[in-house]
């Protein structure tokens, strides 16, 4: 289904629920994986995903169509993740440029984490990155979003996004080559 047809359904009160079912079909899996990579545990990702879709349902009339619908959805999800991480860290605001000291603890505490060698190495590399670097890398490498989409979602300058991604890519390649994964 095309995005404008879906939006027509979502913005008509008579067909809003039907449109929302279609929207869930299209985006909820991808949104889940994006959130999961940020908050790490399944239970947290589930809570954030639920909150994200409630916000999407309540706010769809306010969507001005200046960006793609998917970009708008991921932006809401991203903001919900930041809100969640801020509450979780009990700090004023989560520091995007510092790395997460609890990264490994969160992973091992999650029953839905398969701790095999490859994933452990990958997470070890990711845990050394700042939250901002990790988010940008995840969105580009795993979610295959375009640089301009990542820029819109995170509210960061596109050139900063590009330079951050290429720097992280270089670090990861080096680490992987050194450990000959």
């Amino acid at each position: 289904m095309k995005e404008d047809a879906l939006l027509k359904l979502l913005k008509n009160p008579a067909s809003k629920n039907e449109g929302f079912k279609l929207l869930l079909d299209l985006y909820h899996e991808k949104t889940y994986w994006m959130i999961r990579k940020m908050v790490l545990s399944h239970d947290s990702a589930n809570d954030v995903l639920q909150e994200t879709y409630v916000r999407i349902f309540n706010g769809i009339e306010k969507f001005k169509e200046k960006s793609k619908l998917s970009t708008w959805i991921y932006r809401i999800a991203y903001n919900e993740c930041i809100r969640f991480l801020t509450n979780e860290s009990k700090l004023k605001k989560v520091e995007l440029d510092s790395n997460d000291d609890n990264y490994s603890r969160k992973l091992y505490a999650d029953e839905y984490f398969d701790a095999e060698n490859l994933s452990l190495k990958f997470h070890q590399i990711l845990s050394d990155l700042s939250l901002r670097q990790r988010n940008i890398f995840n969105m580009k490498y795993f979610d295959e979003l375009k640089f301009n989409e990542i820029s819109e979602i995170t509210g960061t300058n596109i050139n900063t996004i590009k330079s951050t991604y290429y720097l992280v890519e270089k670090i990861i390649k080096k680490e992987i080559n050194e450990s000959s994964l």
């Binding site: 008509n12 009160p13 008579a14 809003k16 629920n17 929302f20 079912k21 869930l24 079909d25 909820h28 899996e29 991808k30 889940y32 994986w33 999961r36 990579k37 399944h42 589930n46 995903l49 639920q50 879709y53 409630v54 349902f57 839905y112 984490f113 398969d114 701790a115 095999e116 490859l118 994933s119 452990l120 990958f122 997470h123 490498y141 795993f142 979610d143 295959e144």
Partner: protein, 109 residues
């Protein structure tokens, strides 16, 4: 999304996405019951409604104008006022003779 995310070792419960969708739809529907009326009107329906409204407005105003102008223009005072003439005593006497005196004096048949 590509297959690389499998490298991260994340797992999910069985049927998680199906269950999530079901649960979210129940939550949404409970808080926002479906609106059954369809408010999307066609151009044809809107045109018909506009014509009816315009017709009603036209007849309402045209009949009210008739009421406003429906007076006895033979009355000397009114015809005088309309023609911007000065209202003289003669007119007044004639007016009261026609409009008031005859109405109030009992004339046995």
């Amino acid at each position: 999304m590509n297959h690389h995310y499998k490298k991260l070792g994340f797992k999910i419960p069985d049927n998680y996405f199906k269950e999530f969708k079901k649960k979210t739809l129940v939550l949404i529907t409970k808080n926002n019951p479906q609106v059954n009326k369809n408010y999307s009107f066609s151009f044809y329906q809107l045109s018909i409604a506009a014509i009816i409204i315009c017709t009603l407005v036209y007849y309402t105003f045209s009949s009210s104008n008739e009421i406003e102008t429906n007076f006895n223009s033979d009355s000397p005072i009114i015809s005088t006022m309309l023609s911007d003439e000065e209202i003289t005593e003669e007119f007044m006497i004639e007016y009261f003779a026609e409009e008031i005196v005859f109405d109030q004096i009992y004339i046995p048949k």
